[in-house]
Symmetry: C2
Subunit: 145 residues, 2 copies
DNA sequence: CCATTTATATAAGTCGGTGATGTAATGGAG
DNA sequence: CTCCATTACATCACCGACTTATATAAATGG
């Protein structure tokens, strides 16, 4: 067997360790992972309904209502009635929310950069080369079935 | 400026999206992230004290005692007194715990493999080539200061 | 052998989550 | 238009997991 060629199972294991490392390192005291993910999604993709957010994060609708409520109380998102459907509420980031995400991204970039500078040059190269592929990995196409 | 060359900030952003994707996709109903990480750590690295685990996961010691207690109640880990220090408790995985982690890793590998097969060949290549670098990224040397 | 420190367990309280349910708006059938 | 089923969101009651503070037991230093 060729022990040098990493296989998919090995990659899968490493990915989970990366997730675990990020979780321990980027931990945020004031907002939990789901709330941050919601805010990030809203900043990246624009306004969303509460139910859409709940489905995205695999959370319950009441749970998402609570998260949105806390984000709103902190001034990071706003609620507005959906003009196309009177039952729905559109959640959108405020300027403060966008700024918060921007600052968090900057901190995170610094942390990752610090870490990367300690790696050998070929590892650094491999990581940067994999950026696009990693992004493609997360662009879920789970609608296909 | 060269828009084609991904920089570190972009990589950092993508990494967080990978973490978010893994969180949503590999979600486990019966055990939370920290408990799974603890069990994984014990299987990979061997027995650990409760306090060591708490520090690793950045959790409080009582919180970790609870997690270990639930894992023990489910038969996935065992407690034993540390022969070198009567105050300490060594937590070690049981065979059932090792089997649980093995099965979870297998499921995870299948999921990642499915996802990867839908990617273009060069993305697949880039990801596999980055496996070692990603692993290196998580081998924290934060003791250095 | 007593005092201090260390490792873990227990207790009380808080916070965030879920399921069940209520309310308001939409949309199709008659 | 009226009625009814469906949909979107909010509210309620409850539960589980985490936190700080404290207790217990063992090690360590005089």
């Amino acid at each position: 067997m060729e022990t040098d060629a990493p296989d998919v199972a090995e990659l899968a294991g490493v990915l989970e360790q990366v997730a675990s490392w990020l979780r321990r390192t980027l931990r945020n005291e004031e907002w939990n992972t789901v709330a941050l993910s919601v805010l990030d999604e809203l900043v990246r993709e624009g306004p969303r309904r509460v139910t859409e957010l709940a489905a995205l994060e695999r959370a319950s609708q009441p749970g998402m209502t609570g998260i949105v409520g806390r984000l709103q109380a902190a001034g990071l998102v706003g609620r507005a009635p959906d003009p196309t459907d009177g039952r729905a509420t559109l959640v959108a980031p405020t300027n403060a929310g966008r700024r918060y995400i921007r600052e968090r991204h900057a901190q995170r970039a610094v942390m990752v950069a610090d870490r990367i500078t300690t790696l050998p040059a070929d590892d650094r190269r491999a990581l940067l080369d994999a950026t696009r592929a990693l992004a493609a990995l997360t662009h879920t196409t789970e609608g296909a079935a």
